[in-house]
Subunit: 475 residues, 2 copies
């Protein structure tokens, strides 16, 4: 019996080992995903619209490493710092994956003593957040940032950032949207006149930031219960944060007996008025809402802040449009570069970040619904053969086409069937087939087949490149 048990145990151990070998998990890390060819095609469409806009506004482009020294990121993100990915200490410097593109940008400006630049940067950032992938929330995701750094006359660059958001969201045709605008100085002034102690500004600010997700009653009880704010102060805040509007509201608040006495609020409201004047000249105030409930989480903002949300008309009978979430945000951060400068020299900055993942989700869903067939290659012509033993002729012809800049493919088989070659074109959307056959070789021609119409024409070999160019209208 002991012998049998030993045998069985040995077998079990072997089995265990084998299981271990095969229990290998075939997946991408939590909160991340691959982009297949179809998703890439959608992604490149969206990027192309965004980059066009950034270039239209005269931006240069920069890139920074995916990781930074850990200390570069320290103290920039407030409560969100816990979401930063650290690298393992393998000897040498302590590193973290970038959390956004703004802090690396500020580090870049300080390091290179740049005081004046307009740049964009499109790259992935990393947050150890709870992913909600169906709604486009990932741990690895793209940000598309446009920022203007430099000492300029007030609100001109700020207005341009809002114009950019307006152009991109219009161009991508994502449906109706609104861009909420506020100012950190107005928020701070409001907290002051409502009786919030200075020390509680920031924590009350992050309570206000939740108003787009939870109702006022909950936010109020957090302020009073958890954060120890007096119920009177909370109620005063409650009155302000329900206000939203345009120039009229700004004018009203500039007359507000309490706010108008506060220096910060007055400054902020004055600039907000100027901003709306510029936005009027841009003709975009229809989509802009001055909204006192907009707070934004990050620590580094010092002036104007804004956030674009898509409005989703669930169905025609619903009166109030439902927000499906933020797709862009940004603001002014005049102090961040100074945090990196050894002498604390300030470089005022304002910028916008387009959150592309949610936009991808929408474009992806729309494409699936539309049943539009999206091409994932740009191949113009398939080099095919009608008979066997023509591999060498196909190789010669395709090489000529490649060298002439024509986008060409062939099947990697010695003797493919013509039907399979035609089917490949149908499947992948290749519009033309260049068919070599024995007769054609003798005659010095190639048979060009137009896949859509099944039309076939003989083209002299020396005219083939030109003919393909014309047929695919490539200039």
């Amino acid at each position: 019996i002991a012998k049998e048990v030993a045998k069985l145990l040995e077998m079990k151990a072997q089995l265990g080992e084998d299981e271990g070998k095969h229990k290998f998990v075939l997946k991408t890390p939590k909160g991340t995903r691959d982009y297949g060819p179809k998703q890439m095609a959608i992604r490149e469409r969206a990027f192309s619209a965004i980059i066009s806009c950034f270039k239209r506004h005269g931006a240069e482009v920069i890139d920074t490493p995916v990781f930074e020294l850990k200390e570069t990121l320290t103290g920039k993100y407030g409560e969100d710092s816990k979401l930063i990915y650290d690298l393992k200490d393998q000897g040498g410097e302590l590193l973290s994956l970038r959390y956004d593109l703004t802090v690396p940008f500020a580090r870049y400006l300080a390091m290179n003593k740049i005081t004046n630049i307009k740049r964009y940067h499109i790259a992935k950032v990393y947050r150890r957040d709870n992913p909600a992938m169906t709604r486009g929330r990932y741990r690895e995701f793209y940000q598309c940032d446009f920022d203007i750094a430099g000492q300029f006359d007030p609100m001109i660059p700020d207005a341009e950032c809002l114009k950019i958001v307006h152009e991109i969201l219009s161009d991508l045709q994502l449906g109706d949207f609104v861009i909420k605008v506020n100012d950190r100085r107005i928020l701070d002034g409001m907290f002051a006149v409502c009786g919030v102690p200075d020390s509680k500004f920031r924590t009350i600010c992050s309570s206000v930031d939740k108003l787009d997700k939870v109702p006022w009653e909950e936010v109020r009880s957090e302020m009073v219960g958890e954060k120890g704010l007096s119920p009177e102060a909370a109620d005063r805040i409650g009155e302000y944060v329900q206000l939203h509007g345009g120039l009229d509201l700004i004018e009203r608040l500039l007359q507000d007996p309490k706010l108008s006495q506060n220096k910060l609020a007055k400054e902020g409201l004055g600039d907000m008025k100027l901003l709306f004047e510029y936005l009027t000249l841009f003709g975009i105030t229809g989509k802009i809402s001055f909204d006192l409930s907009l707070a934004r989480g990050l620590d580094y903002y010092t002036g104007v802040i804004f956030e674009a949300v898509l409005l989703h008309q669930e169905n025609e009978h619903v009166e109030e449009p439902v927000s499906v979430g933020s797709v862009a945000g940004g603001g002014r951060y005049d102090g961040l570069v100074g945090m990196f400068d050894p002498k604390g020299r300030k470089v005022p900055c304002v910028g916008v970040s387009i959150g592309i993942e949610r936009i991808f989700s929408i474009l992806e869903q729309r494409l699936e619904a539309s049943e539009e067939k999206i091409r994932t290659t740009e191949t113009q012509v398939l080099v095919a053969s009608a008979q066997k033993k023509l591999l060498e002729e196909r190789l010669k012809l395709i090489s000529e086409l490649w060298d002439a800049g024509i986008k060409a493919e062939m099947l990697y088989k010695k003797n493919p069937k013509l039907l399979n070659q035609l089917q490949y074109c149908e499947d992948t959307g290749i519009p033309l087939v260049a068919i070599v056959g024995e007769q054609e070789l003798k005659d010095g021609v190639v048979k060009l087949r137009i896949v859509a119409t099944r039309e076939e024409v003989n083209v002299r070999r020396e005219s083939l490149v030109e003919e393909i160019r014309i047929r695919t209208s490539q200039c």
Copy 2:
């Protein structure tokens, strides 16, 4: 005295603290760098040439996360595994930064059960190597990979990979180059007939891999001294590895009394012959060298391997061109996807990786030497004003231009001097200036100035967009 000492100590402590605060290191992590606008312009030129080529060959594009599960990378890179960056264990999965794009590609294929794809992937990879940044060796660097996966007739996709390398290096005009080709089966066969024990194949292979950097004598003493190979075996290897040539050499080795008896070597040589036939049809054998000293470090290769090196003619009097290092490499890896498949199903693959950093270095140095002025924006027109108080008019005009798709900038000042506005165009290469002035506004025109010629023409406001398009020949 005690009091004074305490005071001083306190002062010192404060000083220390302050120092600590400012001793903050303003840098990017070791082995990484930022790309400024000029570098980005060069980078985009190189990428554009590479992507055009990949698309010309009908490739789709994919993307994968920057990190993978640690176990995905385990056991794929041999000795180089120690260079992998691990992420800190912050709870959850153990992650590592990708070391190349090939292993993530294989994981992607296995995970999605794809058995047939031609794709490219351009992304950064990470290696904790000793950086040599002036020679373009970084810890964070781009790879541009093109791979063909699928069961096809022999050497057709392999030949296309070499054609691609040839096209890209020619297109980028990096000077003369050679693409060395070998086959893992020929190497293994060679080791066998030279009397290398099976168990030493891999370690002797990595010795051979050093031959492009150190002379044979050193490699030989490593083989015999460190790795315990018999001097006779080493000498036999020494005879083979100095061989390089073309079809003639392949024919000779097919007749070699020892090699021709080895099954693996014979297979490899047969395929090499076929490969050269295809390369002859592509007209590129002039730059291809069948080189028995080419080994390549990575474990996963199973067939053809290749590496492109730039040849640098130091000066006219040097007879032998000097190699300035590898800029592309690749090969066949038929077993890698099977390592990820639960049932071990194989997907044969062959691919090439273009190492872009060294190419950047060369293009960068060349650009600096040439004093060519490279533009970092695409702005077509600066909206300027000739007098004060015209900010609103500039904002209105620039908004019209942006909405019409014109790339336009303005200075972010209320009342900029005309001279400063013109200087900005000179500095940044903007070709046109649209000047609004009081008289022009009255007349319904805009003064368009051509920066290069200083010519000025009045253009009716409604024709301005068209005129700018024509002048900047944008189609």
